[in-house]
């Protein structure tokens, strides 16, 4: 077993949506390099519960980087320092004894804080509901192989479809823009013939919904791509703009 580490955590605590929050500093004396970052928070919470305090709430579920539930800003970077890694898969071997780690929730007006590190990302669901789908009722599909799709297009669509909806793109964006999230779905469906009939309606509706939710505009900082656990390229955002221009031109 590897040596245990003493880790200080400076964590944002906020009891509810409309109350003042503040930072609290805690020490976890027996962190272990094999632990995941969320397991470190688990250990902290066990400590807090035992000492009669309220544990830190954070969203988490699959803990294998695919459900998109978890997401906190670790030392100023969404999901922490390891590239293409959600914080559930960030491991403590990247830290050393005595380190202090600052943990904050996603910050965006469109993601109001629910409690501590938990935010409300339902704005993402509303963006998808505005048009991020193909209108096909169960039962009406043709044989799957009647529609050949070039492997390159299918692979590219998969790159874009890999989005886990965690919201790190918004959290890291200096403008709190949801462009990468929105564009990833638009680009996924724009790559495929199935997405063609609704492509114009889709891009306008989704872009408008994104604006309505109060996200900022994209200034092409590309910070989103750098923190995206799936490494989705900002070329999706360019694709979204092309799609939008096409829709505008009729």
């Amino acid at each position: 077993m590897a040596d245990s580490m003493n880790i200080k955590l400076k964590v944002w605590r906020q009891a509810g949506p409309n109350v003042q929050g503040r930072f609290e500093t805690y020490t976890v004396p027996d962190a272990n390099p094999h632990m995941s970052f969320l397991e470190l928070l688990d250990v902290l919470n066990e400590q807090l519960i035992k000492s009669g305090s309220t544990p830190v709430e954070f969203d988490h579920d699959c803990r294998e980087g695919i459900c998109g539930s978890c997401g906190v800003v670790v030392d100023g970077v969404a999901h922490g320092p390891q590239r293409r890694t959600a914080c559930c898969q960030l491991h403590m071997r990247h830290y050393k004894d005595g380190d202090t780690i600052v943990v904050e929730p996603w910050r965006a007006e469109a993601f109001p804080i629910v409690k501590d590190l938990v935010v409300d990302r339902s704005a993402f669901d509303r963006i998808i509901a505005a048009g991020g789908y193909v209108s096909i009722n169960a039962g009406s599909a043709q044989d799957a192989n009647n529609l050949p799709i070039a492997k390159t297009a299918a692979d590219l669509a998969m790159d874009f479809a890999a989005c886990i909806g965690c919201g790190a793109c918004v959290a890291a964006c200096p403008n709190a823009s949801a462009s990468l999230f929105t564009a990833a779905k638009i680009s996924h469906l724009a790559m495929l013939p199935q997405g063609m009939p609704e492509r114009k309606m889709r891009v306008t509706a989704m872009v408008n919904q994104m604006a309505e939710e109060g996200f900022g505009d994209c200034s092409n900082h590309a910070e989103c791509e750098a923190v995206c656990p799936k490494g989705i390229s900002i070329s999706t955002i360019a694709t979204m703009r092309r799609e939008y221009m096409k829709a505008m031109l009729g």
């Binding site: 803990r63 293409r84 096909i136 692979d155 890999a162 469906l189």
Partner: protein, 637 residues
């Protein structure tokens, strides 16, 4: 509640049963569909597809999930793929063969008619998902690619990199989102179902807790669809998501729904081994890795050399040795048990000695690193992220972990439980996988149930029953709400000394040791005693922090654990009762000299459905009749 269970299997030859059924059912006319409200609990593959499809048909749907978004249900974590009998590779697949493989893979403990329907529907699922824009892997010619999976000798698995579950779930989620946008589905996220409400013996509503405000809500309708997944988290460590739980199903069970085959759990052979006590969950590595990875351990016990220092002739590729025709692609239960045997024999590897190697050296030499990266790149990355080791250079260490539960609420052919109006879909029911599920079959079942079965069977129920109007003011709701509130208050009021996680770990240890990969009469008796004692202690000494009126995950987990503490005991009882070895249920007393599982078809070809009453559980047996398949000893040799 009836004491015998009618499976309602339609008449006629196996291949025609589903058509017969569809021809004979009553339909709800389009104008009347609007008048029916359906409550769908859970938004995974089963719940998401059901909610979307029912809304498309015109029903009013209320959908519930415990996550912050329906897109996060645990189906999203399925990696490998989804089976279908398309036979695109022209390698001899048929609907019959998929049916047969699934029945055989389930070790002849599933219902023929349900499984055959599943195989028939499988092809439509692929069509539907492609039409939704699911980016399945393709060949250069633009057509769909297939790969092979354990328990089959054909390539029938469709996949989207290592994220098939995610893509299928997002397909269902997008279809749902469309209906949400159209106002046909009302979505309730961060809501946990705490009870089922029966009016005149029929399921008419649910009690939920708003996980943000703690408020208890009453929801009512004409039918309840339970799509809440499996109960693998009873083991504490499993590949399930942290929030996966049995509570909704268990509450239904306590309101009368029979729980079938609870002891049938699947231990997945390829997971990343445990590294320490703080471990919160286990991560699965897709079974597809066994297509190219070779499983081995050192021949010598306690061999501490690095894997690369162990010469070829001192390695035991035990799966290839024992099962030459299926080799590394034996079904999951067989692969898992063999890994355990190797470790029990002192040949385990790694720091904990609870792991075996999964080695890609040969495949990399044969196909090149790029080809392997294209197939498994994301899985290799994930492995490296978690373990800090590079699987291109050194073999992966893997060990079995609890992954899926074949057992679940009992349902008939219509997916209806023995509580009228309560339908159970996906992993939450017991019906299709018998004693062991084959890889890439869970996604198939969840979507089959939601897209293509429930629209027919639910319509038949609604059209056949005269459901009087019910709303939340009915006394049954008040009573259920009070029960739920009292339980929450009770949990908070104990203020003991042990945390929920400590109890859960303890339960997990008992379950893994005695109700895990291999089971004995003595061990199961011990488990029953220890779980009962633990449960008693839990209700006296648990420490749940915080209050009921805000988000409080410890309170949520405490409620779920309380149910696991009851379920665990029933699992042990079920395992004790079933004096045979079949699929994932391995009783050490019932094995051949070579250590292979020995079924007892004369005595145990039945579904063990457990009914709950205040006096405890009683076992109801639904005999399994095999008309089309001959029961044989499973052999993968």
């Amino acid at each position: 509640m009836k004491s015998d269970l009618d499976s309602k299997i339609p008449n006629g030859p196996l291949k025609e049963k589903w058509d017969h059924y569809k021809n004979g059912i009553k339909l709800v006319n389009p104008a009347n569909k609007r008048k029916h409200t359906v409550l769908v609990v859970g938004t995974g593959l089963a719940g998401g597809s059901a909610a979307a499809t029912l809304a498309e048909l015109g029903y009013k749907v209320k959908s519930f999930c415990i996550q912050d978004s329906p897109r996060r249900a645990h189906s999203i974590a399925a990696q490998g793929g989804i089976n279908a009998a398309k036979n695109y590779p022209n390698d001899g697949d048929t609907v019959w063969r998929l049916f047969y493989d699934t029945v055989k893979g389930g070790d002849y403990r599933s219902r023929e008619a349900n499984v055959h329907r599943l195989a028939q529907i499988s092809n439509e699922i692929i069509d539907q998902c492609v039409a939704q824009g699911v980016p399945f892997a393709r060949e250069y010619g633009g057509l769909l690619d297939n790969r092979s999976f354990g328990g089959a000798q054909v390539s029938r698995t469709f996949y989207a990199r290592g994220q098939t579950g995610q893509q299928l779930l997002l397909g269902a989620y997008q279809s749902m989102s469309r209906q949400i946008g159209l106002g046909n589905i009302e979505m309730f996220a961060r809501q946990e179902m705490l009870d089922l409400v029966l009016v005149d013996g029929k399921a008419r509503g649910i009690i939920t807790r708003n996980l943000v405000t703690g408020e208890i809500e009453r929801h009512f309708g004409d039918a309840v669809l339970l799509c809440t997944g499996g109960y693998g988290n009873v083991y504490y460590l499993s590949t399930n998501a942290k929030n996966s739980n049995v509570t909704a199903a268990w509450r239904c069970h306590k309101r009368g729904a029979a729980f079938a085959n609870p002891c049938f759990t699947q231990i997945h052979p390829t997971c990343i081994p445990v590294s320490g006590d703080y471990q919160s969950k286990l991560t699965l590595m897709s079974e597809s890795l066994r297509n190219d990875g070779r499983v081995w351990v050192p021949k010598k016990q306690g061999d501490n050399r690095k894997p690369k220092d162990i010469p070829e002739d001192e390695r035991d590729y035990y799966l290839e040795r024992r099962y030459p025709s299926f080799g590394n692609l034996v079904p999951r239960d067989v692969a898992s048990r063999n890994a355990k045997l190797a470790c029990d024999d002192g040949k385990g590897v790694g720091e904990t000695k609870l792991a075996v190697y999964l080695d890609f050296a040969e495949a990399i030499a044969r196909l090149g690193q790029d080809a392997i990266a294209a197939r498994y790149g994301n899985l290799f990355e994930m492995y490296e992220r978690i373990t800090g080791e590079n699987p291109y250079e050194t073999p992966m260490r893997i060990y079995p972990a609890v992954h899926y539960t074949m057992g679940g609420l009992w349902v008939d052919y219509e997916l209806q439980s023995n509580v009228p109006g309560l339908f159970v879909l996906g992993e939450a029911n017991f019906s299709d996988h018998g004693a062991n599920r084959l890889g890439a079959s869970a996604l198939m079942q969840g979507l089959a149930d939601g897209y293509f079965v429930i629209p027919y069977t639910l319509g038949n129920y609604l059209a056949s029953n005269d459901l009087k109007k019910v709303d939340g003011t009915h006394e049954a709701f008040s009573k259920a709400e009070k029960d739920a509130t009292d339980r929450l208050e009770k949990l908070l009021s104990i203020k003991g000394t042990k945390t929920v996680t400590e109890y859960h770990r303890e339960l997990g240890r008992i379950m893994w040791d005695y109700v895990g990969m291999s089971r004995t009469e003595e061990g199961l008796q011990t488990a029953i005693k220890e779980i009962a004692a633990l449960r008693e202690d839990f209700w006296k000494n648990v420490l749940v922090p915080g209050e009921n009126s805000t988000m409080n995950k410890n309170l949520e987990f405490a409620g779920r654990l309380a149910d696991f503490l009851e379920l665990g005991e029933l699992m042990a009882r079920d395992a004790l009762e079933r004096e045979e070895s079949c699929g994932g249920h391995f009783r050490e007393e019932y094995q051949s000299e070579e250590g292979e599982a020995m079924r007892n078809d004369d005595l145990f070809t039945y579904v063990a459905a457990w009914a709950y009453s205040e006096n405890g559980h009683t076992l109801i047996k639904e005999p399994l009749e095999y008309e089309s398949v001959k029961l044989t000893t499973r052999s993968y040799k």
